[in-house]
Symmetry: C2
Subunit: 373 residues, 2 copies
């Protein structure tokens, strides 16, 4: 088992990674986050397979454990589901001496984390991500949230989990699309922080897609290390954490314009290429960066062009109306080159790019047939 200790307020966070870790989970949980009562928040996909056995194993250690679950699906990441899960745990008399275990994909991690952050003003939390995206993104960094009508992730809290337990074997049954979507975020980690890691992902595409545990464990570890380093430098996202948004300004626009038919990781793949083109057009990103990303993402079976029917101008309109936007001019987190991001003279980690420059760059991301038309 790989053990990483993250220095994060208020009490630090531990990440354990290991094939077969789920089987040893009760002992790790009891040792690192002792509690009288565990409330396991999970989704219907993994409730029977992982959550109920975990609860039974904890009860065998003479602590209380209850499972509350919701129907798997992005639409459940809502205040309504959060309230229902909270009330179910209150009905089971989970008290202040309890602990929340969020077990499942990104939705379970985000929802369970927000339940923990707000339950009796905050309980300790264990994250047990079972999708690749959740393992290397949602479970690391303490962001919890639900979606509201005005937009995604607009209501939430920061809560650093005491323990994140990652078992690459859980990826054995992950749908192919979700595996690829997670790999897109790993590519992002390489792109912003470690060119060597990025190229390793490109060279290891086949074993990764074949879900070989050893390369998957390495990928998870390296991505967690990169994300953790950024998060430790900026726990509540006031500065450098913005670099994690590389690809995401365009990705969020694509997601919104597709009414979330395009999965997040797929949108991030396209967004990274688009923002590499934008960065090059703006003179801050090295030539050839978009092409390098395009080749790697293509090798991972990820989309590398804007969805058919989506015009560059629509992307910019959607990005400008993003609810979290600070200003009317669009800012992007951009690469300087593969493996490093841009910081401007004022220390800002995002760059303002004029719409006409961005438009031309986005034109280079249209599907081939439309570019040639």
């Amino acid at each position: 088992v790989i053990r990483l200790a993250l220095k994060l307020p208020p009490e630090g966070s531990h990440v354990f990674i290991g094939a077969g870790l789920l089987d040893e989970l009760p002992e790790h949980v009891l040792e690192r986050v002792p509690a009288a009562h565990y409330g396991i928040v999970t989704d219907s996909h993994v409730a029977e397979k992982y959550a109920q056995p975990l609860a039974a194993a904890l009860r065998a250690e003479r602590v209380r454990a209850d499972v509350v679950s919701f129907t798997a699906g992005e639409g459940q990441k809502s205040r309504t589901t959060w309230a229902t899960l909270t009330d179910a745990l209150l009905a089971r008399r989970l008290g202040r001496d309890g602990c929340i275990i969020a077990l499942g994909g990104g939705v379970a991690c985000d929802l369970g984390g927000f339940v923990a952050a707000t339950y009796m003003r905050g309980l300790p939390c264990v994250q047990v991500p079972t999708s690749l995206l959740a393992m290397i993104d949602a479970s690391i960094g303490g962001k919890t949230a639900v979606d509201v009508p005005a937009g995604k992730n607009l209501v939430g809290a920061f809560l650093q989990p005491h323990l994140v337990a990652i078992d690459p074997l859980a990826l054995g049954t992950l749908p192919e699309r979700e595996l690829r979507a997670g790999l897109a975020e790993a590519v992002k980690h390489g792109a912003i922080a470690d060119g060597e890691y990025l190229r390793w992902i490109g060279q290891t595409a086949k074993p990764l897609l074949a879900r070989e545990p050893q390369p998957l464990a390495h990928l998870i570890r390296r991505s967690v290390e990169i994300k953790a380093a950024v998060v430790q430098a900026d726990p509540v996202e006031r500065g450098v954490r913005a670099v994690l948004n590389f690809g995401h300004t365009v990705a969020h626009a694509i997601e919104a314009l597709s009414a979330y038919a395009v999965p997040h990781g797929y949108a991030v793949a396209i967004g990274m290429i688009a923002e590499a083109e934008i960065g090059t057009a703006a003179g801050v990103t090295a030539e050839g960066t978009a092409d390098e990303l395009r080749a790697i993402l293509h090798g991972l079976g990820l989309p590398v062009a804007l969805p058919a029917g989506l015009a560059p101008a629509d992307i910019l309109t959607a990005a400008a109306s993003d609810k979290k936007a600070r200003a009317t001019r669009i800012r992007y987190a951009l690469l300087e080159r593969v493996g490093g991001t841009v910081t401007d003279d004022a220390g800002a980690h995002t760059v303002e790019v004029a719409d006409d420059i961005a438009l031309r760059a986005l034109g280079r991301c249209l599907p081939r047939e439309r570019r040639e038309a």
Copy 2:
């Protein structure tokens, strides 16, 4: 203006107290918590009187300011109202560079604080309490919460306000009952931490009830100092902060049994006497403590006996079923004497008292006619 700087994570908290402070509020807010956009969360009682003029004054300083209000009343301290207020601020496009100002009584402070704690994962918050209870209790210490069907304050978060602005002149129009309810919490502060202050409150009952600004300002300052000292020692309520619950185990039971017809401060007045009797019966609280409290609370026009029709056994049943209870045996935060609380050999700040002892002590708190019957 009295300025207190509290050392509280993550960034400290400032408390300003001064007659007429509301008129100077925009400059203090802009200086201490600069933001591009202020979202003022307030109740219908003070929206016109204080919130709209504050918004206008802020707009005159060329920042954005919007007021969102709810119908005054305890019943509004709900997830539903929290969601409605959040969505109203999102509709006004309050962004991450915004700040929440919670202005009003305890409900506005708790609700506005919880909106701030969860809006885009947390915005800075200014508390502007306009009731005495909110000035010396709800606005200090960073507890925010809403009520849920299972109980009061079971969903919430800790968020230390950057600034708490208290204007004793706002108490001029406070209903008499609410003034007295606030004074009960001030008595509690004296009882747990400062016997001299407690006796001063007893001697100053008339000027306080006449709302003379000078003694009110002194009371607010001293109570804030006492509460702040406890909160600084234990920001997220893991230990010594329990002493603030003196009187509250019984008070919560009285509130629940009366279906919240007995106001919180009134229930605390009765609860303090009851828990002084319980402490004396258990051998930890000095003889005569309950009588001293009884005299002072009576002088403030507060109730000093259990409500008619409420049996001691019911109190214990209700206290034992409190959702936050750690164990089945009831624990109380007890006085050693007026001005100081009990800590047991293990360092615990609450004491377990057997029900038969508590029952006899509660018998001494029945209304006179029932005790003699």
